[in-house]
């Protein structure tokens, strides 16, 4: 780890702090913003997320090695944390810090993208079911019942088994497309209540087509629970990805995902605890931060507390 790397890490931390402060300033003194930051964990959690995102984006600047480089497998495998290797090296002689940072790209990226797939699908299905009701609703919701009744992990394991090395896009789509059932339930319930409000009838009376009514009038007023469930869902997806990768069925090795890193390190846990522990800590830290942000968002956006 060079001086420049350390400086870059420090710079990332400062940037993350500035970002949180800026969010706080921009959000201003509105009631929802106040409720959000009243949570003692909200600001630190935002900082953790901002820090990991910054570091992941600036990976080449903050890391001394490429994530795949086996520095000197004979002498530098399982090297304890030191000035040169701040988080040590893994059993294959790779720098844990470098892999952790590049792994953040993969783990956070999969989490965010899979959640995007899940939320989009859930919003569209739930919105359509709630708005059109009748047989559309009945059909879609029975589909959701089936989806919710299937053991997700086993389903994923079976599908993943079709590939020798699962392409990342497939992994994202699989995780996303098995994760929207709960969201669609939530959205449907919210849409059912919003669609009865008079501004929806007004829009219909003005001649707005269903798509305009759903996307302009109904869904924006049902956004709060969707945002909360997405924030809480990313953490879940990341845990799922880590679990799959640990089993060797997720992100194909040697790509550094946090689940992979734990898997690579655990046979040597007794002599080199750092190789598995740090990626594990990273997962826990990020998932905890996401949950804290989700909780704060829930309180901030709860429509029952909305003054307007």
């Amino acid at each position: 780890m060079t001086v420049w790397n350390w400086l870059a890490v420090g710079g990332a931390a400062v940037l993350a702090l500035v970002a949180v402060a800026e969010i706080r300033r921009r959000a201003g003194t509105g009631t929802s913003a106040r409720r959000f930051f009243r949570h003692p964990t909200a600001a630190p959690a935002l900082f953790v997320l901002a820090f990991f995102v910054t570091v992941a984006l600036a990976a080449p600047l903050v890391t001394p090695y490429r994530p795949y480089v086996q520095i000197d497998i004979a002498r530098l495998a399982n090297h304890a944390p030191s000035a040169q290797f701040p988080l040590g090296t893994d059993p294959f002689g790779r720098d844990v810090w470098s892999r952790l940072v590049y792994g953040a790209r993969i783990s956070l990226g999969i989490g965010a993208l899979a959640m995007l797939v899940a939320v989009t699908t859930g919003v569209v299905v739930g919105g359509v079911a709630g708005y059109f009701r009748r047989w559309v609703d009945a059909t879609l919701m029975r589909l959701v019942d089936v989806g919710l009744a299937m053991p997700r992990v086993f389903m994923l394991l079976m599908v993943v088994a079709l590939w020798e090395h699962v392409p990342l896009t497939v992994l994202v789509l699989l995780i996303g497309l098995t994760g929207w059932f709960g969201t669609s339930r939530l959205v449907r319930a919210e849409v059912l209540s919003v669609r009865e409000r008079e501004f929806v009838a007004a829009a219909r009376a003005l001649g707005a087509e269903p798509a305009r009514v759903i996307f302009r009038h109904v869904l924006p007023n049902a956004a709060a629970p969707i945002i909360v469930s997405a924030a809480l869902g990313i953490g879940n997806v990341m845990l799922l990805e880590a679990g799959l990768s640990f089993l060797g069925l997720g992100v194909p090795s040697p790509a550094p995902s946090w689940g992979n890193m734990i898997a690579d390190g655990w046979p040597k846990m007794a002599v080199a605890w750092w190789a598995s522990t740090f990626p594990g800590l990273a997962i826990s830290l990020v998932v905890m931060a996401l949950n804290a942000v989700g909780d704060a968002l829930r309180d901030a956006l709860d429509p029952r507390k909305e003054t307007a």
């Binding site: 409000r197 008079e198 501004f199 009838a201 007004a202 829009a203 219909r204 009376a205 003005l206 001649g207 707005a208 305009r212 302009r216 009038h217 924006p220 007023n221 003054t307 307007a308």
Partner: protein, 332 residues
């Protein structure tokens, strides 16, 4: 009622029954049907106002919404300028929606909280390709001025406005597509009394200036008195009395109308008045009484077995005045 030929809005035999929920996952026997609107007919001549009055739950709002096809009716015809609204395809219906609009009761629920006043008013202009860009901005400013609001309100959100201001925005939204016919669904019921008068005056002005035709729905005969040309009184999904406004207030023929009128406050403490207080609740429209639907609560002294078994027809009891009562010739 009025002759259909000259009417702008002609409603014939409108029926809307809401099926009861089926118990046990939709497999059980359906529960009783709620007859929200049960064979309602009326016509409104251009430029006139029909007041539709009744207690809450009598189906008056359902009538208003069915006419605009916000609720699909089960039977009947709604003719707007001779076009049957209920058989139109979605394209023609959208075109016709420019000619008829609705103003809602709840000024809080009727504006989308996520949109500014400008966005709310720009939407109908965009839907019907009436104006975009700067042109739309000018029209929105003109609309706001027309309803008595400063054009500066365009950038406000609904929650930044008072109830009366919101209701004016709702009226401006309805006017934005230049309709001929407005359904006013209790437009002032949720407002303070002082604001009620302002909004009623505004509606009267707009009617004159734009030659609008109104269906004014209210639960209160006093509100309708000054604005309506004709008044229809509804009870349990049926029209029970229909008359020119002056006539209805002076000489009501149906005992229900009489009792409603007796509840209107009179601003003279010395006035001698006879209060008729109806006993009991409005029967559930899922289980309307046999015979005359009003008979369980009717204070008429001649109420008899005929009232309990034979539903009275809506018939002309005086020139231009219709009532559905066996004893309309001997009013209370």
């Amino acid at each position: 009622m009025t002759s259909s030929a000259s009417a702008l809005v002609d409603v014939q035999g409108l029926v809307k029954h809401f099926p009861g929920e089926r118990a046990f996952f939709g497999l059980g026997r359906p529960r009783a049907v709620v007859r929200a609107v049960d064979d309602v007919s009326f016509a409104i001549t251009p430029g006139q106002t029909l007041g539709l009055v009744g207690e809450s739950g009598c189906g008056k709002s359902t009538v208003g919404r069915t006419i605009l096809r916000l609720i699909e009716p089960d039977a009947g015809r709604v003719l707007i300028d001779g076009l049957n609204l209920l058989t139109l395809g979605s394209r023609e219906l959208r075109a016709l929606r420019r000619r008829m609009q609705i103003v809602f009761q709840d000024p809080y629920g009727s504006l989308n909280p996520r949109l500014t006043v400008r966005q709310t008013l720009a939407e109908p202009l965009a839907i019907h390709h009436l104006a975009t860009g700067a042109d739309a901005g000018r029209r929105i400013a003109a609309l706001l001025e027309e309803v008595g609001l400063d054009p500066g309100f365009a950038t406000s959100y609904a929650h930044e406005l008072s109830g009366g201001q919101r209701q004016r925005v709702g009226i401006a939204r309805a006017l934005s597509v230049e309709p001929q016919f407005l359904v006013l669904d209790e437009p002032v019921s949720a407002l303070d009394v002082s604001v009620q008068a302002q909004v009623l005056n505004l509606l009267a002005d707009l009617q004159q200036r734009r030659r609008l035709t109104y269906l004014f729905i209210a639960h209160d005969l006093a509100v309708v008195k000054h604005i309506a040309d004709q008044v229809a009184v509804m009870y349990l999904g049926k029209i029970v009395e229909w008359a020119p406004a002056a006539r209805l207030y002076a000489a009501p023929r149906h005992p229900y109308t009489t009792s409603l009128l007796s509840a209107v406050p009179v601003p003279d403490p010395m006035a001698q008045r006879r209060r008729i207080v109806l006993t009991g609740d409005v029967p559930s429209p899922a289980h309307p009484p046999a015979g005359c639907p009003f008979h369980p609560r009717c204070p008429h002294p001649k109420k008899d077995a005929r009232c309990r078994t034979e539903p009275p027809a809506l018939r002309e009891v005086a020139p231009g005045q219709l009532a559905a009562c066996h004893y309309a010739e001997e009013p209370l």
